[in-house]
Amino acid sequence: MAFSPDGAVLATTAADGAVELWEAETGGLLTTLTGHEGPVVEVAFSPDCAILATASHDETVKLWEVGTGRLITTLAKGEEFTPLAFSPDGAVLVAGGADGTVKVWEAGTCRLIATLTEHEHAVCSVAFSPDGAVFATSSDDTTAKVWEAGSRRLVTTLTGHDDRVGSVAFSPDGTVLATASDDYTARIWRIEN
């Protein structure tokens, strides 16, 4: 489940694939998004709260209009994605795949603009830098990678963990990255001059 960035709407998921949108203030049900055929495993609101992206075990990623509950489009079919992240400006949606691919869609046009295949195993986490210039992905392949959001160029690969890297986060000023791993360690990565 997720709150919209403005806190007004709460999205919850159910085992049958339905996603329900609730008015956070009153607890009233706003709408039910039906269309997924399997459990929804991730939801992400766009920064303007207008769009909800959902990823499901039915191997699709769908975009919904929050205001009306209308299905906008189905972005991915036949591939399982889990982490979803909108860029801070809402322009792109990044999804990490169970097979290690990272896909980037333009949110406005729903056009797939990049498929990044550098990760060898499932992608666990996606995080944008605060200014949206880059995003980081972490993976079962024990690495985290940083990508330029505009060019989708791989900027760097952070290696050193001995096990799955489950989470990656940027510091608020964007100059420090932290990774968390199943190898029982967390690591801090900084920009060195």
């Binding site: 489940m1 709150f3 960035p5 806190g7 709460l10 159910a14 085992a15 049958d16 339905a18 329900e20 609730w22 607890g27 049900l29 459990p39 991730e42 939801v43 992400a44 609101f45 920064p47 303007d48 990823a55 075990h57 889990t82 982490p83 801070p88 400006d89 809402g90 322009a91 333009e106 603009i113 992608v123 986490s125 996606v126 830098s129 200014d131 949206g132 210039a133 959001a149 505009g150 060019s151 760097t156 952070l158 096990d163 489950g166 989470s167 940027f170 510091s171 608020p172 420090v176 990255l177 932290a178 968390a180 199943d182 029982y184 360690t185 967390a186 801090i188 990565w189 900084r190 001059n193």
Partner: protein, 234 residues
Amino acid sequence: MAYVLGRSRAVSPQRPEKKNDRPMPRRPLTGIPEGLGTRRCRAGTAPAAPASAAEPLTLRPPVGRPAVHASRTAPPRRSCPLPSDTGTVLAPFHKRSRCRFLNRRVGGRVNIDYSRLRLHAALTGHREWIGSVAFSPDGAVLATASGDGTAKLWEVGTGRLITTLTEHRKCVRWALFSPDGAVLAISAVDGTVKLWGQGTVGSSPLSPGVGSGLARWRSVLMALCSPLQPQTAP
């Protein structure tokens, strides 16, 4: 949520006749958490939460905002199964501000040379997997949440361990700072969320399975964002 949704056969008791309910009546929000709690995680063979803790709360920063904390999937090998598949995200409760949709060019100018990222510190001390990392709003402190049942706070600059928070008996899934940095919320797979105020040793455990669901949820959210209520336990 992301990580743990099993292709579960569990039936959500809150949604008995969804298809027939048209138009959908406005139902109280209190029904949701219990429904979430009925599902199983893929990694686990049994729900970790006791029957009474029907509403596992997990905390995550608001999706889509500049994130200091990322979404993630379930680790494949958990020694401690997660109780809720989707109950992952509790964003801080912000005042109703209209977000602006700025459909700018994709990706801003890259001001920071991320190719120069180097390992600064390896934080060792946890005795199990680390599920999440979160920075404090000022970037000075990093919180880690681990399957060993503890959360730890680290000085980002030096990598020094500041403190270990050991109140939880089960795997700790998320640790999250409130936007003002005054409160650290830690959620565990036992369905509890504990809020820590800076400079205090005690915690204020919230038992989300008890009492009014909505009130509980909202109190947690409000506590997370209110600088004046660092330790709210309604």
